[in-house]
Structure formats: structure tokens, C-alpha cells
């Protein structure tokens, strides 16, 4: 009985230690990394959307429409991506 209790407590203490260590090791450097990651990704999604729209416009000869649609799709995807990263950061 006592041994069981001890084992339980040891398990909890180990988990706590692990959490602390992860937090300490990862936090400062990777949060700056995430800041760099998010800022460029927001722009990259818009750029890629626009490029896809431009190429499709050239192939289908539908000048302004597809580039407009894909530009806004890129914006949506960029913002959705920022939300997704922010959500996974909160975990």
C-alpha cells in the first residue's frame, strides 16, 4: 500500500520535473523562432496565392478574375495559418 503511494508520488514528481525542463529549454529561443515563422508565412501565403492566380489566368485567358480570387484565397489561408500556429502554441 505504502509502496504504491510512493510510486504514485514519484510518477507525479517526475512528470512535473519533465514539464519544467521542457518549458525552460524550449521557451526563449523557439518563441523568437515562431515570431519569425509567422511573419514570413503570412506574406508567403498571399504571394503564392497571387502567383497561382496569375499562372491560371494566363492559361485560361481570363485576365483579372482568377488572380483576384486566388489573392483573397491566399489572404484567407495566411490568416488561417496564423490562427493555427497560435492555437498550437497555446497547447
Amino acid at each position: 500500500m505504502k509502496e504504491d503511494q510512493f510510486k504514485n508520488r514519484l510518477e507525479i514528481a517526475k512528470k512535473k520535473q519533465l514539464k519544467k525542463k521542457l518549458y525552460k529549454d524550449d521557451q526563449p529561443i523557439s518563441s523568437v523562432g515562431i515570431a519569425f515563422k509567422m511573419s514570413t508565412e503570412l506574406v508567403a501565403h498571399v504571394v503564392v496565392g497571387t502567383i497561382i492566380g496569375f499562372i491560371l489566368d494566363k492559361t485560361f485567358d481570363s485576365k483579372p478574375w482568377l488572380i483576384l480570387i486566388f489573392f483573397f484565397l491566399g489572404v484567407i489561408s495566411g490568416i488561417a495559418n496564423v490562427f493555427r500556429s497560435a492555437k498550437s502554441m497555446q497547447k
Binding site: I29, G33, F36, H45, V47, G49, I52, F70, L73
Partner: protein, 244 residues
Amino acid sequence: MATNPMHQFEVYRIGPEIKLGEVDLSFTNASLFMVISLITILLIFNLGSKKNSLIPNKIQLLAELSYGFVSKMISDTAGSKAKPYFSFIFSLFMFVLFLNMFGMVPYSFTVTSHIIVTFVLATFIFVGVTIIGFIKHGAGYLKLFVPSGVPIVLLPLIVLIEIISYLSRPISLSVRLFANMMAGHTMMKVFGGFVISLGIVGGWLPLSFSVALTGLEILVAFLQAYVFAILTCIYLNDALNLHH
């Protein structure tokens, strides 16, 4: 000409001109710095792993610490399945890190401040990860574009958005490294120019700024190599452990 902050990014030929048909294959200052960093990496890791003593000397310590750093990074972000790709990520990290760090030496050339270099690196990673994903999961890899729990009406839109977000990976990866390196080096040159033009009276403020910027740039040089490697790990993780 010397005060032009963009002058430091010029690529020029060293030695004879080599042409292969239409392609210019001459040895440039960019290739020179790539070779220098390659040789330095090889030297450090050869010397570091040669003696293998129980109490490590400085070079062995450096080699072992960097090995441990990258190995921990891979197991944290991509799990144990990514172990076979350790050598690729390690060489990638070391190469980018040394290119960035050699760029910090005065009068040197920063290879990673050219978008074509970083874009080629990122494209290799993108194509490689996609191939690995298709080998491991077959056509099931396309499930990456179809998140679960989405209503049928919204599905075409979501798939388009996911495809855009997948294709933007190499661009964001390359632009991040290139923009950070180029912006930092330009800024340092501009502040250096202020020191000269303001002279001994007012030059102290930009000089102190330059010193602080140099510290910041060394941090950025390390951080960008780290981010480059860790994002490769994350993309690899997506390809190896498919879950949505």
C-alpha cells in the same frame, strides 16, 4: 562606391571564366565562401571525432554539443521516425549556420543573403519531403490537404487553401533566411556609413548602435539557421506521421 550599402552583396568572378554552353560556371566569391565553410565544418568534425577521449578537448566538445543539439531538436519535433534523416538535417543546419557566421566576419561575403541560394535549399527540402511523404503513405499522403471534420460544402475551398499553404512552404522558408540576412547586413553597413559621415563629433551614437547591431546579427545568424533546420523537421514530421 564603398559607401553603397548594397555593394557588399555583389557577386564577382574569381579566377578564369568557365562556360558550359550557355551556363556560366565560373568560380565566384559566393562559391569561395561556400567552400571555406564546408572545409571548416569538415575540419572541426574530423578533428573533433578523431581522438574520442573521455575528457573532451574544446573541438571534441564543440562537435559533441552540436551533435546533441541537433539530435535533441529532431527527436523533439519529428519523433523517433525521423532518425534516419539526421545526417541531412545536421549538415543542413551546420552549412547554413557557418555561411551565416562567416558572413559576420568583416570584408567577407554572406552567401545566404542571396535568395537563389536559400530558395534552392528550400526547394530541395520541399521536393524531398514531398517524395518521402508519397513513398511512406502512397496516395494517402494527399489526405494532408483534406482536414477531417469539414462539411462537404466547404471542402473545395478548404482544399484550395491547404494547397496554397503547402506550396507556400519553400517560399516562406527561403524568404525568411534571405530577408533576415540581407536586411541585417544592409543595416549594419548603413550605420557604419553614418559613423564616417558624422565624424568624431556625432559618430559615437551610430558607432554604439553598430556594436549592438553586431551582437543582434550574430543572434539572428544562429537563430535563422536554427529556424531553418527546425522547420525542415516540422515538414518532415508532417510527411512521416500523417495526422489531421
